[in-house]
Amino acid sequence: MEWLRLEQWSPYICGAGIGILSWFTLLLSDKALGASTSYARTAGMIERLFRGSRVLEREFFKTVTPTIDWQWMLVLGIVIGAFLSSALSGQATIRWVPDPWFSVFGAAVWPRILVAFVGGCLLALGSRWAGGCTSGHGISGTMQLAVASWIAAICFFVGGIAVATLLYALPTL
């Protein structure tokens, strides 16, 4: 089992593995890989703690019910799987400021957390707006040859490349 301790596998092998995984999710669960809806369900569950069943009067939570379903467990599984994998390779460590950010914007924690928070807000808004994320559209939808998913995936990268390039050009302006 030495291969489980390796820090990295070929991206082609990992991608192929995810492709095979998607056969089984469709066959055994009648579901395509996706992640973003689970955050919306969780937001509903948290609002429910404060406002009770009135949350269910919101149009949105009638279609996306605040419940723990297949995909919610999948996202929980991703946390566990990545923890196991990184613990086995010795890469699991508490880190507040990731690497390229550190060398360009410094070691201060708050700027990084603030930008990540704004990014998370936009990411969730954009996922619901476009009807999927890098998994739901970018992998699952594109492999099913869905027009909207190919267009969405291209827009994810066009927007991402533009904003990342601007962000990392800021210190040199």
Partner: protein
């Protein structure tokens, strides 16, 4: 043939967890649960993210359409529109760059110990999802405009399923070959 399994919601939650653990291992071993790999993809200096995604698409599409042809699986696609797909996609892209993770990999990053993924990313995603829920009636009216005429690539290209898949596989392999040749 898997109808009773598919309808058993407790079994499905257990399967979801198992599939997620496998997904998480592949994402972590590919390196895409780190900020560095994702931001360098968006800065076009590291193409790991694209290699992972397109390998999954290439392998996935063959099996999925083979099984679909035999009536073993259902496809899950939705039509989309300019206002939903393009506008939402660009908003997603801006968030992707600022956060440096996407909704699946941010969960993996949390598992690996990235606190910016947890206290920035996940918290932000919960707030963003909630804002969408609040604004949903107004946004959904806007999203419905400009619906795409076709739902699947076969309809756009006037080709059969395998006539789309085979050239797609050739393009993906050619792209991989080009990336390796360039040393990216």
């Amino acid at each position: 043939m898997y109808d009773s399994l598919r309808k058993n919601s407790n079994a499905q939650r257990a399967l979801g967890l198992l599939f997620g653990i496998i997904f998480g291992v592949f994402l972590q071993k590919a390196g895409v649960t780190t900020y560095e790999v994702i931001i360098n993809q968006l800065l076009l200096t590291d193409f790991t993210v694209l290699k992972v995604m397109l390998s999954a698409v290439a392998v996935g599409t063959v099996g999925v359409h083979f099984m679909h042809g035999k009536g073993m699986v259902n496809l899950h696609t939705s039509p989309g529109s300019f206002n939903a797909t393009v506008v939402g996609g660009l908003i997603f892209g801006a968030g992707f760059a600022l956060l440096g993770y996407c909704p699946g990999t941010v969960a993996g990053a949390v598992g690996q110990g990235a606190m910016d993924a947890l206290f920035g990313g996940v918290l932000g995603m919960l707030v963003g999802s909630w804002l969408y829920a609040i604004w949903y009636p107004r946004i959904s009216e806007f999203r419905d405009r400009g619906t795409f005429k076709h739902e699947r690539l076969q309809e756009v290209l006037h080709l059969g399923t395998w006539q789309v898949i085979v050239p797609l596989l050739v393009l993906i392999v050619a792209l991989f070959w080009g990336l390796e040749w360039l040393g990216l």
